[in-house]
Amino acid sequence: MRNIWVICRKELRSYFVSPIAYLLLGMFAIVFGFFFWNAVGYFVFAGMEAQMRGGMYPMNLNEQVVRPLISNVSVIGLFLIPMITMRLFAEEKRSGTIELLATSPVRDYEIILGKWLAALTLYSCMLLVTALNFVWLFRYGNPDWKPLLIAYLGLLLQAGALLAIGEFISTLTRNQIIAGALTFGVCLLLWVLEWVSDYDSTPWARVMAYLSVLTHFESFAKGLLTVKDATFFVTAIFLGLFLTARSLESLRWRS
């Protein structure tokens, strides 16, 4: 247990000592800030318009601001997750430090969990940036906080799953660019698989739609906590971490 913490701290330190963390956080803050400004601006505009027409149009902060924004966060996350995970193992393999980890009295799962937790922590820091924006909604408006909390839980679960998959991909190569590009491709695919459900309902299409993170994220974005969708993400996390463990083990037999 303590070893997980030791490894997690080391990973976090290297994220925050190098420009990676600040770059990701800064970029994310700017992009999300724009989305937020845009969403609120539109909401205010729509509100004024509704007022002029006699206030017939029902206005809802959660539905019109929070929900699209949360969806945006999950899409931006898609781009940032590969940047977080690509170095996890690829860099250790390239610089040879993997030999230090592998010959230290720590178990593989401790290394894997430590790294995954560090990646998740960095992602959580990015979510904190978004929370700073939402604080203003509560200051000047009156949104419901429960759906927002569930949406955040959904974001964390989704990121946990994608980060685990990214961690697995990072064990496959010693080249960070390859790991990043591959992770991005897989994340994107897992995202857009849902689109087939728009025009097709054959079993294959249903399977593909089921595999998509979008399918399972939608309910969280709405503020619904469903066992089915939570299970999907938890399973995906376990699968990703399990594959990482297998890959790490096979490294020893191959290299």
């Binding site: 303590r2 070893n3 030791v6 490894i7 080391k10 330190r13 290297s14 000592v17 190098s18 610089s95 040879g96 430090t97 993997i98 030999e99 230090l100 980890l101 592998a102 010959t103 230290s104 009295p105 720590v106 178990r107 020893r252 037999w253 290299s255």
Partner: protein, 338 residues
Amino acid sequence: MITVQELTKRYARNAAVDHISFNVNKGQIVGFLGPNGAGKTTTMRMLTCFLPPTSGTASVAGFDVLENPLEVKRRIGYLPETPPLYPEMRATEYLAFVGKLKGLRGPELAKRIEYVLDRCAIADVKDKVLGKLSKGYRQRVGLAQAIIHNPDVLILDEPTAGLDPKQINETRELIKDLAGEHTIILSTHILPEVEQTCQQVIIIAKGKLVATDSVDNLQNRARGAGSVLVEVAGRNGTLDPTTVLQRLEQVPGVSRVLFKRSHAARSTFEVEGQTDRAIRGDLARAIVESGWDLNELRTAAVSLEEIFLQLTGADAATEISAKSAEIEQEPAAKGSNR
């Protein structure tokens, strides 16, 4: 301390390590000697549980590398060929991280960090970022990392590779210093290094064990100690090596004369005497009386390099001699007394 039996590592087609067996006793420094690609690194990786053996067994301090890897890892300090440093970390941060990985905590960890900083002479760079250190310092931080948890066994893969002569000497001294507390296996393809630092040598070539013995024994075993090197010069600027050779062969007590090399009017011969016969005086007299100059007369100390050549065949050793020739350039190495 270390027991290796029939250890084999096989890749798709070829065997990188082929049925190697040896023992290392507590407190010894053992040199693992062989040309590049002989299987030194692979063997060391199996001992450190980085790679699993295909067949055979290896145990460290009584723990098998396959059955009890965690116990083995606790007792081993390992310095891979390239020191496993995180370039963005500071030296003390790094040592603290490695110390924690090895299970040290709190005041004990702080004490060990102080100790290795001092021991490896890296206290002056303790707050520097590792990526900016020179090669010599990186190597020493690598060594510090390996001994931080005071392991029973130290495994060092080419600890002096890529260092300059001064750093090489410092590293060798450090390793010799550490010998009292740890059992050390170090790999190298530089022969004088083994002669200088190790008590026992294990020679492997092409994945096979060629010889394992003490350095002294190997030197004695290779040839009798009666060889003498003679350099003869002609007085008038010319010298016919064949004539000299014939003359030397007639000296009483001489059993064999080998022509070594010739340069301008100087020729060098290796003269083997019959056992227990003092031939030096007769040799000197014979040369001077024949009208030549005697430039040099000395005992031909057999170097490990020659033993290596004998044991592995010239093929594998070409690279070795090239490498060690490089090293002999430096005045500090004593490999030049051959």
